[in-house]
């Protein structure tokens, strides 16, 4: 089966600094994939390259079996993206924006109008449809960006911090919508710093650190890996590992080596 996303030897340099350092990654179709990493690890750079916002320095990006760099238009027709900055048009109303996006993805007028109405209702923005996006709050903008990302029924959805600023009620609805998309065969590539959300939603997870993939697999596989690493070294840790590790513990164990190490007693003692 053709993987939804396949990266080979992908890297991106900024003035000689490798923000993403020759990574290989495969995401199978139908996976809810979590892409994690500490700040500055290379998550946003990777997602920008995957969505065509940034050119890679080396490597190849295959999405649904097609090369993104060689056939960007064919690939983009099947992608939905909620980018870091949301990419909204402040001087359009929510309804106009969704219609614009739908038409840009090649939907006919009737389908676009029907889906715009459905999505605005679903996102709780139906009463705000005539308001300019510039007047939206951050959370409302996020919901609209999500609606725009799915209006054309993408096969692969990239979400960069999709729940940031979204209220709990809307977040619950969005999660159920995303899970329904997965059930229908879509692939979702999610980055978020809220590890509880990733743990609850994602079937597979990759962790990037210093521009390199340092862990990749299902949650159980990552858990087993961490347990195996802890068991022979430390009896107490091994006992803890017998308990079910949370994603946060796994994440800290993998990337938090430096930060999580024992710190001197007097460090930052001036903090009240």
């Amino acid at each position: 089966m053709t993987p939804a996303i396949a990266l080979h030897d992908l890297s991106r340099y900024f003035n000689g600094f490798a923000a993403v350092d020759h990574i290989d990654l495969t995401v199978e179709a139908g996976q809810f994939f979590g892409f994690l990493g500490p700040n500055g690890a290379g998550k946003s750079t990777t997602i920008k390259m995957l969505t065509g916002l940034l050119a890679p320095s080396t490597g190849s990006i295959q999405i649904l079996g097609q090369d993104l760099l060689a056939n960007p238009l064919e690939v983009k027709r099947n992608l939905g993206v909620v980018p870091e900055g949301m990419a909204l048009f402040g001087r359009l109303t929510a309804s106009e924006y969704l219609r614009f996006v739908g038409r840009m993805y090649g939907l006919d007028k009737q389908t676009t109008a029907q889906r715009s109405d459905e999505l605005l209702e679903f996102m709780g923005l139906a009463n705000e449809r005539k308001k300019l996006i510039a007047d939206f709050s951050h959370g409302m903008g996020k919901k609209l960006a999500l609606a725009a990302a799915v209006i054309h029924g993408p096969k692969v959805l990239f979400l960069d911090e999709p729940f940031e600023g979204v209220d709990a009620l809307a977040a619950g609805l969005l999660k159920s919508m995303l899970q329904r998309m997965i059930a229908r065969g879509a692939t979702i590539f999610l980055t978020s710093h809220v590890l509880e959300i990733v743990e609850r939603l994602c079937s597979h997870i990759a962790i990037i650190h210093h521009g390199r993939i340092v862990a990749n697999g299902s949650l159980d596989e990552l858990r087993a890996g961490v347990q195996a690493r802890l068991a022979p070294a430390d009896g107490e840790a091994a006992q803890a590992a017998n308990e079910r590790l949370t994603l946060e513990q796994i994440f800290l164990s993998i990337v938090g080596g430096e930060q999580g190490a024992e710190r001197p007693e007097g460090e930052l003692a001036w903090l009240s």
């Binding site: 990419a87 090649g106 006919d108 007047d135």
Partner: protein
């Protein structure tokens, strides 16, 4: 800075710490400016500034020199009271400059400083200090200094008094400008207020131009007697005399009175006048501080912050229909992208009152000036001049195509569309606007001065089309390499890259000179028949350049997308 907070337990904020804060903010502004030049395309910005700043300096030089000379002249002639006329002129000139130029490019939002331990008075001082760099404030300080120097050269004994009085006058003007800008920013923080304000400015500028055309002797040679009649002069003098009892209590007259008092050795009166002038400064400072106090407490000036939350109860949620699922099966047509982007561009134009008014102004100006020009002997140049003038307002729009969309421009790189289609749609809109504008302007000219020669009309239209195509080609490239996010919520932020504005004007002037040269040469050699094929060739060349440019712009945009997003996504 560690030594400045050596004894934090005392919790005493020292003067050195305040100085350090000022230094840090000055350094921050400098680094933001300097680092801006290090970006891709920053060299172009630097070149733009190197070209534009000397021009601004030259423009400031003549009024400054003139004011200094006039100050010297009035003093030597024993008419030092007339210095107040200069001060009124300087005041009005600076207000006009404020409206037209605004503040220098905003490098950061000064309200972000409130998250640091900055006291209100320091915050006010910082906002005041950086406001000194506004072109109008620089000019008023230079003019005041020049007048003081002129008076001092004429009567060295008045040097100290002139410096004191004119320093007070400059302070009043600077504080007045800062106060007005601060409050205007507040009032214009909602879209509706901005639209009303733009309408007022538009109406005011049209009224000013109407008065200029009808009363300025330069435009009324043929009926000079009608423009400035004894009745009108008498009415103006009467108006002045009626207003004078009130004007003498305002800073320009107070400063003039202070200088007269100093000349006559009446030191008490001099002091009283300077104190009265400074009283105005204190009032302006107080009103400015009042606004700053609100901003200091965390007020955010934006549409979002001012949006009135008149929410209706939420409708019951409907379940997401299966049609929004994984595969729509809907037709995927790329060729419709041009039409869709064009539709969106129309919505943006409809909602941008600034563009709307900037398109009306040339028509009104042509209406005002065409009647005058058509009476003169050189009316043959009327149509080319009017069309060239019209393009001045339309051409710059294409040099910052993504400025209004800001971060939304990323969408074009995410969507399955060819970027050349996006540029084509934006260019079609520019061409349509230009077409409508030129048709209206031509209609005005035909109405005022009769039907023009067919040859001249054809040649002018060919020239306009060529100029537009070349301008659009360069504008597309500049829109990518040097974009500027356009801020709606600020009264006078930077609207476009200086170099882009310079190129836009330069292209138009060069092509106007070329077209004008061809016209003159053809007339001189009596070869009018050459004009049509010559301008047709020019259009063909421009068209080829445009098509090649459009093909190239896709790769160019992809190569420059990082700086495009960096600039347009700025907060």
């Amino acid at each position: 800075m560690a030594e400045l907070i050596a004894n934090p337990k005392k919790n005493i904020w020292t003067a050195q710490q305040t100085v350090a804060q000022f230094r840090a903010i000055a350094w921050l502004r400098w680094r933001i400016l300097f680092n801006g030049f290090r970006r891709k395309g920053g060299a172009g910005e630097l070149v733009g500034r190197i070209l534009v700043y000397p021009m601004l300096a030259a423009a400031a030089f003549f009024p400054t020199l003139g004011a200094g000379f006039a100050g010297w002249y009035f003093t030597t002639q024993g008419q030092i009271a007339h210095v107040s006329w200069l001060l009124w002129g300087a005041f009005i000139l600076c207000q006009l400059l404020n409206i037209n130029l605004g503040r220098p490019g905003t490098t950061f939002n000064p309200n972000e400083l409130i998250r640091f331990p900055v006291r209100l008075r320091n915050f006010v001082a910082i906002r005041l200090f950086f406001g000194l760099l506004a072109p109008a404030n620089v000019l008023i300080m230079l003019i005041s200094l020049a007048i003081a120097v002129g008076i001092s050269i004429a009567r060295p004994s008045l040097c100290a008094y002139a410096l004191i009085a004119l320093a007070a006058f400059a302070a009043v003007n600077v504080l007045f400008t800062r106060m007005v800008f601060a409050w205007v920013d507040r009032w214009l923080s909602t879209r509706r207020a901005r639209e009303i304000f733009t309408l007022l400015i538009f109406a005011g500028s049209i009224a000013f131009q109407w008065a200029n055309v009808n009363f300025n002797p330069a435009y009324n040679h043929h009926r000079h007697a009608n423009a400035i009649t004894p009745q009108r002069m008498s009415a103006a003098v009467q108006l002045y005399h009626r207003a004078h009892p009130f004007l003498i209590y305002l800073p320009p007259e107070l400063t003039g009175s202070a200088l007269v008092a100093a000349q006559r050795g009446r030191w008490m009166l001099f002091t009283a006048c300077v104190v009265a002038t400074l009283l105005f400064a204190a009032i302006f400072l107080a009103v400015f501080t009042l606004r700053m106090r609100t901003e200091f407490r965390g007020e955010v000036l934006s549409d979002v912050a001012n949006a009135v939350a008149a929410r209706k109860p939420l409708a019951a949620h409907v379940a997401l229909a299966p049609s929004a699922g994984v595969d729509s099966g809907a037709p995927r047509r790329l060729h419709s992208a041009v039409g869709v982007v064009l539709g969106k561009e129309f919505l943006y134009v409809r909602r941008n009152t600034g563009i709307f008014y900037s398109l009306i102004v040339p028509v009104v100006m042509v209406f005002l000036f065409a009647g005058k020009m058509s009476i003169r002997s050189n009316s043959a140049w009327l149509i080319p001049a009017a069309v060239a003038y019209t393009l001045f307002s339309v051409m710059p729009l294409s040099y910052n195509s993504f400025g209004l969309e800001a971060a939304g421009a990323q969408f074009y790189f995410l969507a399955p569309v060819r970027l050349r289609d996006v540029f084509l749609a934006k260019n079609i809109l520019n061409l349509l606007l230009a077409f409508v504008e030129i048709v209206v302007v031509l209609a005005v000219i035909v109405y005022l001065s009769g039907r023009p020669s067919l040859l001249l009309l054809s040649v002018t239209l060919l020239w306009a089309a060529s100029t537009l195509l070349i301008g659009l080609t360069l504008g597309n490239l500049r829109s990518v390499s040097s974009p500027k996010k356009i801020e709606f919520a600020r009264a006078a932020g930077k609207q476009a890259s200086p170099l882009s504005a310079f190129i836009s004007m330069g292209v138009l002037l060069v092509l106007a000179a070329f077209g004008g040269g061809l016209l003159v040469a053809a007339r001189f050699l009596n070869l009018s028949w050459v004009l049509l094929p010559a301008f047709a060739i020019l259009l063909a060349v421009a068209f080829v350049i445009y098509v090649l440019g459009l093909k190239h712009v896709e790769r160019y945009a992809l190569g420059h997308r990082e700086e495009l997003f960096e600039e347009l996504s700025k907060r």
